[in-house]
């Protein structure tokens, strides 16, 4: 039978060095070149796959020599069989991976047609991503980089080999517990004194809990049964009352103290998390969904809220109670006390059963709740769409279905609990009956006083609760540890774009920008920018054009240092951007995006976001320059207009202009407009252009635009195509070249003509 966990996790399948071999053929493939009818030539590399072209699982290899490429499959008996090739590399124009559903092909383009060389399952994607890069180098006549093999996989934990749930995610196993409990306790250190007080009060509380049964015993044995010492009665009652009053007073203080400690801790933790979250790089946010991060700050932290009370009241208090009561029981009558333990296995079984079968239903319920609220929020935010398509009825049905799902789960939960609880109490009741039987026997034979039996019963009643609480504590702990794991995961995350220790402060950025052979990909194996070199002088107005997806925004991301280039350098004022203080960079570089983000605050606050100290006149100047002043002043609350979530309440073009004003107010040395005027109508665009042309004086401006007419006056235009600078020059130069730019302009004039005619 297949073994779970370790074997699946650790198999060599995932290890890159087992899968790519440089220079020589791996074992068992010695005859491969003959089988593949390939000419003898030095081998560059070979790579293992897990499928043949038909999609049958098998071991197969692609072999790349200096002259040819092809693939073989290794049959069960060890014999080799040709899959594809040989393809002559001198005929190959290009190599690509062609992803299909669940598997991919590595293909060579020969005489304009793509031929399959080898097929691989998704498990091999990372390995083949590296091989593709090397294959491209071979086609370019460059040498194989051994780094492709030696660089550890991003998808496997370096320590234990367990596959990671995602790129760059920490291995849950190697970081298991990993002192999470210790770190959580560490966070309590400042409250050490208070915690000692808390424990002291709890101990006193347990002591007080043990008192009433003893008094009752005295009442029964010394007063009621023998009809003696009648004067004791009021004193005993006063004693009972005092114990109960004191106990409750203690509870008040314990509750208050533990809540005050835990709220302080959680507040600290939330603040730490929030601080960390803003300092993390953009890259981190690509890898983690905003939803999951929000839930960490909002809900996972709640586990810490419970930590103090769970550890103190849930664990320590119950433990003390179990020990204290156990001690009392055994000291009264150890034989009877042993009987008390008889139902304990049931308590344990019950608790385990509860967590195994009933607790998952809680998940279902909360899941159905969140599904329903998702549905509802989707419905409400899209209400205009629903109405305009007249789909109210269908939405109603969808909601009904979701509500039904929720009802079913809730029902299941309630029914399960309604069955579970009585069964458990019946079992405990049975336990009580045994004690009645034995204890009654002892009392009847005068081996035990009635008072002792009653005290015994009182203790037994207090005993099972803490026992069951203790057994469920481990479950709380599991939840706590995984929540703690997720929180520390964020707190420990590397700031992947970090400031170099030698970073030099720059009082003022002049605004020259230079790219030197920059290679960058969001996924390190799939470069988006493939060797970009250019330079921009201070004060220049530079246009960047290119098809969508060509890498324009990516270029900008590197200038703003949201990411670091994998190869090459980005320089500002001749200084490598890695050696600049982030503060200076962000002070002097302003970015206006195509899809501007506005906070839910007033318009004025949004404009002043980067310069909160600006005065009202400055804010208005900026708005005026961005051609926003007029529409703002027409509103009833003008600059005090409060915007909704993500700037709702403004049209797309208006939002755009507010965001331009926001950038202008910062008086940046480098202004980057990433398709910033594309959702503004032509007329306002022209006005903004006019304003910009004044404002651009004296500062470096990079404008990415797909309406090419806006770039006519640019000092220089770069045309980006598939991650490379394909053309550059002034508008007139580029028109004369009759290349990509020329074609784009022609298409657009055509379109404009159509628009004006239509």
């Amino acid at each position: 039978m297949p073994v779970l966990t370790d074997e699946v996790a650790n198999s060599d399948k995932f290890r890159i060095e087992e899968n790519i071999h440089a220079e020589e053929l791996p074992e068992g493939l010695t005859g491969a070149l003959t089988v593949m009818e390939m000419n003898d030539a030095p081998i560059v590399f070979s790579i293992r796959s897990d499928l043949n072209l038909e999609g049958v699982g098998c071991t197969s290899w692609m072999i790349v020599t200096e002259k040819e490429a092809g693939a073989v499959q290794v049959n069960a008996d060890g014999s080799l069989e040709k899959i594809s090739g040989p393809f002559s590399l001198s005929d190959a124009q290009k190599v690509r991976t062609f992803p299909t559903v669940g598997s991919s092909f590595l293909q060579l383009r020969i005489h304009g047609l793509y031929f399959d060389v080898i097929r691989y399952s998704n498990a091999k994607r990372e390995t083949f991503g590296r091989a593709l890069q090397q294959f491209e180098r071979v086609l370019d006549g460059k040498a194989f980089q051994s780094d492709a093999i030696s660089r550890p996989s991003d998808l496997v934990c370096d320590k234990c080999g367990l596959p990671l749930p995602g790129r760059g995610v920490m291995c849950a196993r190697c970081n298991r517990d990993h002192g999470i409990l210790f770190r959580a306790l560490e966070m309590m250190r400042p409250y050490f004194g208070l915690l000692v007080v808390l424990l002291g009060m709890m101990l006193a509380g347990v002591g007080l809990d043990l008192v009433p049964p003893l008094l009752t015993r005295m009442l029964v044995d010394k007063v009621l049964v023998p009809h003696q010492n009648v004067t004791w009665l009021p004193y005993i009652l006063i004693g009972l009352m005092a114990a109960s009053a004191l106990r409750n007073v203690l509870s008040v203080f314990i509750g208050r103290l533990s809540s005050s400690i835990s709220t302080r801790i959680t507040r600290e933790l939330r603040e730490k998390l929030q601080q960390k979250l803003v300092s993390l790089s953009v890259d981190y946010y690509n890898r983690h969904s905003v939803g999951s991060l929000m839930s960490r700050v909002l809900w996972d932290v709640d586990y810490f809220q419970g930590f103090v009370s769970q550890v103190s009241q849930g664990f320590l208090l119950n433990l003390m109670l179990v020990i204290g009561i156990g001690f009392a029981l055994f000291s009264m009558n150890w034989k009877l006390a042993l009987l008390v333990i008889v139902p304990l296995p049931f308590v344990a079984i019950g608790t385990i059963y509860f967590w195994k079968y009933i607790h998952p239903i809680y998940y279902r319920v909360s899941d159905s709740q969140s599904k329903m609220s998702q549905l509802l929020s989707g419905l409400l935010s899209g209400i205009r769409l629903v109405k305009s398509f007249g789909q109210e009825e269908r939405e109603h049905q969808r909601f009904e279905k979701s509500a039904g799902y929720m009802r079913d789960n809730r029902n299941l939960l309630d029914r399960s609990i309604a069955t579970f609880n009585p069964i458990m109490s019946f079992l405990f009741g049975l336990g009580g009956l045994i004690i009645w039987y034995e204890g009654g026997h002892l009392v009847l034979t005068d081996q035990m006083s009635l008072g002792t039996l009653m005290a015994f019963f009182a203790y037994v009643g207090m005993f099972y609760g803490p026992v069951s609480a203790l057994s469920s504590f481990s479950n709380w702990m599991t939840g706590f540890l995984s929540a703690g794991q997720r929180i520390f995961d964020v707190l420990d995350a590397n700031v992947s774009v970090s400031e170099s220790p030698e970073a030099v402060p720059l009082a003022r950025i002049e605004g020259s920008i230079e790219f030197r052979d920059v290679v960058f990909g969001y996924d390190p194996y799939v470069p988006i920018l493939k060797g970009v070199t250019f330079s921009i002088k201070p004060g220049q107005f530079v246009g960047i054009v290119g098809k969508s997806g060509s890498g324009k925004t990516t270029l900008v991301n590197l200038i703003c240092r949201f990411y670091d280039a994998q190869q090459g350098e980005v320089l500002i004022d001749g200084i490598n951007i890695k050696n600049l203080k982030q503060e200076d960079l962000h002070r002097d570089v302003a970015l206006v995006l195509q899809d501007p983000f506005l906070f839910s605050a007033t318009i004025a606050e949004n404009i002043a976001y980067g310069r909160p100290e600006s005065n009202m006149m400055q804010i208005m100047d900026a708005a005026k320059a961005a051609n926003a002043h007029n529409f703002i002043s027409k509103r009833a609350s003008a600059y005090d207009t409060r915007l909704g979530e993500q700037g709702s309440g403004l049209s797309g073009g208006e939002r755009q202009r507010v965001s331009i004003a926001r950038a202008l107010l910062c008086d940046p040395r480098i202004l980057i407009l990433d398709e910033a005027t594309s959702s503004v109508d032509t007329e306002s665009e022209q006005e903004i252009q006019k304003a910009l042309s004044v404002l651009c004086k004296g500062r470096t401006t990079i404008a990415i635009a797909h309406r090419l007419s806006t770039l006519k006056n640019a000092d220089w235009i770069y045309v980006v195509d598939e991650g490379r600078i394909a053309e550059s020059g002034t508008h007139d130069d580029l028109m004369a070249q009759e290349g990509i730019y020329h074609r784009l302009v022609r298409i657009q004039t055509e379109l404009t003509r159509l628009e004006t005619e239509g």
Partner: protein
């Protein structure tokens, strides 16, 4: 604007329909798929994709090719594969198989949760195998009405066509964790 008019214009600018009268599909040189449209245009290196892979896997098949500028373009859509000759049908099924690689789960023997990962021991058409699926919503997506598509840590696809077709015990094993 009348409904009829819209749909006619939609039709004119919509997808190209391929049927035996206007399309000839055959296997050309070195096993590549060729397609001749209107006996005029020859496309080589054609690949086929299902447009409704779940509900209509045998129909609505899109044929594509890579043009001179290295861009993938659609030639047209086969609405009903059965109109074509047996031979063409067999050829296309074979080519379609190239485009899909997923395991169909028939039994689930055991699911074990460890560190937010589900370790599956299951039976697929390949035989009994083990795989690891991160325990997250986006790793077990809806598939058809009552099915699930599991994506393991390596993004390999495992399909449960219909959860209710699994034996009771297997289903319980699954829904204990994948309850959504």
């Amino acid at each position: 604007m009348s409904v009829a008019k819209t749909s006619r214009t939609l039709f004119a600018s919509g997808v190209t329909r391929l049927h035996p009268e206007n399309a000839r599909i055959y296997e050309g040189d070195s096993g590549l798929l060729y397609c001749v449209v209107d006996e005029k245009t020859l496309y080589r290196g054609v690949f086929a994709v299902r447009l409704f892979p779940i509900r209509h896997p045998e129909n609505f098949i899109s044929l594509n090719y890579t043009n001179d500028e290295d861009k993938d373009r659609e030639i047209g859509v086969i609405e009903n594969l059965e109109e074509f000759s047996e031979e063409t049908q067999a050829l296309l099924s074979r080519k379609l198989a190239h485009h899909y690689y997923e395991q169909r789960i028939s039994r689930i023997y055991r699911v074990k949760l460890d560190q937010d990962m589900l370790f599956f021991d299951a039976e697929t058409q390949r035989g009994r195998e083990s795989f690891i699926v991160p325990w997250r919503h986006d790793r077990a997506e809806e598939y058809d009405e009552h099915g699930k598509a599991l994506l393991d840590v390596r993004d390999n696809r495992y399909i449960i066509p219909n959860v209710f077709d699994l034996p009771d015990r297997d289903r319980q094993e699954l829904t204990r964790y994948i309850y959504w």
